[in-house]
């Protein structure tokens, strides 16, 4: 069976034919499977936003293809249109795009555009709201009276309500405090698990992607620099720093401890694992 998303030799330039023409992404290749959590990391301007806008047909490739279940998303107009709801895209700071009178109506906007029945729309809004932990009382409020974290959850629910097979989020936790971040991330996980959905998340927090992602796609200057599990990627902490990224702080601490001659695992990238590894090391009297 073909993967849910397959990107082949994708290339895109902006402002073609003007003095500002520049290549945003080139020769990008990757696949995403059902139920998989992918994190997209890379420095500012590395092409992450350009790349994700291709996945639901907001941008058209200059060359290369984006396949959805093996079919080119640009094969015909009708198909491209359906992709917009099958591949849901949550932009950066999506709360700036809220516009309706109530949170409920804002969430209903996507399903309404899909031409669903009133009953089906209602059901989807309620289901989406429950994924992001919004109560009925909040749904009747104006989105502009909600807190920053609540607004963002309304915006994410608006995309989830289309029940996309692939949910793409561009820095969904930017600007939120610790509690807000944890809530949004567990909402995303809940949706992934319940629908066996593919998640593609852009993030600048190495600690965050280390905890969540099955695989990381590292972008550098518009190209894919590396693809692998967190363990494979964070092993190359030096390289990540060189391309402006870095590794979680615990990975860095473990690297320094290994430099001091302590035999600790090199692939440590989460806090829980770090604590376990250190305690085991101590009990073993200096052997991991």
């Amino acid at each position: 069976m073909p993967p849910v998303i397959e990107v082949r030799e994708l290339t895109h330039s902006y402002s073609v034919g003007t003095p500002f023409e520049h290549v945003a992404i080139e020769h990008v290749n990757f696949t995403a499977e059902a139920g998989e959590f992918l994190a997209l990391i890379g420095h500012t301007g590395s092409g992450k936003s350009t790349l994700i806008q291709h996945l639901n047909g907001l941008l058209k490739p200059n060359s290369g293809t984006v396949l959805f279940h093996g079919e080119d998303i640009w094969k015909d107009k009708k198909f491209t249109r359906t992709i917009r709801s099958k591949v849901g895209l949550v932009f950066q700071y999506p709360e700036y795009q809220l516009f309706e009178e109530t949170a409920f109506r804002d969430i209903a906007f996507g399903p309404k555009n899909m031409g669903l029945s009133e009953a089906e729309i209602r059901q989807r809004v309620l289901r989406a709201a429950s994924f992001v932990g919004l109560t009925d009382r909040l749904l009747e409020k104006s989105p502009f009276d909600l807190s920053g974290g609540q607004k963002r959850r309304v915006a994410i629910a608006g995309v989830i309500a289309m029940e996309p097979e692939v949910l793409i989020l561009d820095e969904p936790t930017a600007g939120l405090d610790a509690k807000g971040r944890q809530e949004i991330l567990s909402n995303i996980r809940a949706y992934q698990k319940a629908q066996n959905a593919t998640i593609i998340m852009v993030s600048h927090s190495m600690e965050e992607v280390a905890e969540l992602a099955d695989r990381l796609i590292v972008m550098k200057n518009g190209r894919v620099d590396a693809i692998g599990t967190p363990s494979e990627i964070f092993r190359q902490a030096e390289h990540l720093r060189a391309i402006g990224l870095g590794a979680p702080q615990v990975t860095e601490v473990f690297r320094l401890l290994r430099e001091k001659g302590l035999e600790l695992p090199a692939d440590t990238y989460t806090l829980a694992y770090a604590v376990k590894a250190l305690c085991r090391f101590r009990e073993g009297g200096g052997h991991a």
Binding site: T44, D177, A178, H204, Q249, L271, V275, L278, G285, G286
Partner: protein
């Protein structure tokens, strides 16, 4: 050192809107910012950090109490221009702060409004763009730049006013690690090399490590105030206020709970590794005895 900003019994509430009560943000707050200092303000969403920042250059005025900038009352309209020149602000979203179609024109916007002679404007704009590392982009269109680059343009725009104090409200929230580091390095240079007073509001605890002072804001008041070491060792207090601690502190805290003998104030990764290595060494020595 004298204080550049002083808040005395400062209270603020957003005015009541139709059918709703006024929402108090903070009450009877007393606070001083020393000239030349680097202060980081942290706190959960909705705690009033941004509202406080806007009091510092009279974007918002107190409902009760006073705010003074270099001794000038922010509610006195006579000195408003002087206050705005003294304290420059950078906001979270660079897209809301950029007005021109060309980078250097955008940076020139504030000094033009202040009536600075054009030769001086040229110099200030070039200086400001070099300081933030965006000089080579001076003829570009801002909307074609990345978020991080745009934010550095916004900072350059404030620098061109040559303020004595710069207040930044989550300027790195939208940036990648390198962009964050560049912006923080820029801010640090302004503080250390040029003696500019910096007030930085942030959710990134790693940015607070090098500050002179960390202010923890929450529940309408100041929950903690001290050096980064003094503040970040109060893990329970911070977590209760929905604030993350640096991952290094979290690691030391968890190990301590497992019975390790460790200090909590090893903030940098080097200090943290050192502390853990020492703890392991002490234990090996003990077990050999």
């Amino acid at each position: 050192m004298s204080n550049i900003i002083t808040a005395e019994n400062l209270s603020f509430a957003y005015p009541p809107q139709e059918g709703k009560l006024a929402i108090p943000v903070f009450e009877n707050l007393n606070l001083e910012i020393a000239e030349g200092s680097f202060t980081v303000v942290i706190g959960p969403n909705g705690c009033g950090k941004s509202t406080l920042a806007k009091q510092f250059n009279a974007v918002l005025l107190p409902s009760g109490g006073k705010v003074y900038v270099l001794g000038n009352d922010t509610s006195n309209e006579q000195t408003l221009l002087e206050i705005r020149r003294t304290v420059g602000m950078v906001f979270q979203n660079p897209d809301n702060q950029i007005v021109s179609n060309v980078v250097e024109e955008d940076v020139a916007f504030a000094p033009e409004n202040l009536g600075v002679p054009s030769a001086e404007i040229r110099k200030r704009v070039d200086d400001a763009l070099k300081t933030v590392g965006m000089y080579e982009f001076r003829n570009h269109a801002p909307h074609l730049l990345s978020g991080g680059q745009k934010q550095r343009i916004a900072i350059a725009g404030v620098l061109a006013m040559q303020p004595r104090c710069i207040v930044l409200d989550e300027p790195t929230a939208m940036l990648d690690p390198r962009g964050r580091e560049e912006v923080i390095r820029t801010i640090r240079t302004l503080n250390r090399a040029r003696g500019m007073t910096v007030v930085l509001i942030t959710h990134h605890m790693s940015e607070a490590i090098d500050a002179d002072r960390v202010l923890v804001f929450g529940n309408g008041g100041i929950l903690a105030d001290g050096s980064p070491r003094e503040v970040f060792t109060q893990v329970e207090l911070l977590r209760a206020a929905n604030i993350d601690v640096p991952q290094t502190t979290a690691l030391l805290y968890e190990l301590k709970r497992q019975g390790w003998d460790l200090p909590l104030d090893a903030l940098s990764t080097e200090e943290c590794a050192e502390a853990i290595a020492n703890a392991l060494l002490t234990q090996t020595e003990r077990s050999q005895k």
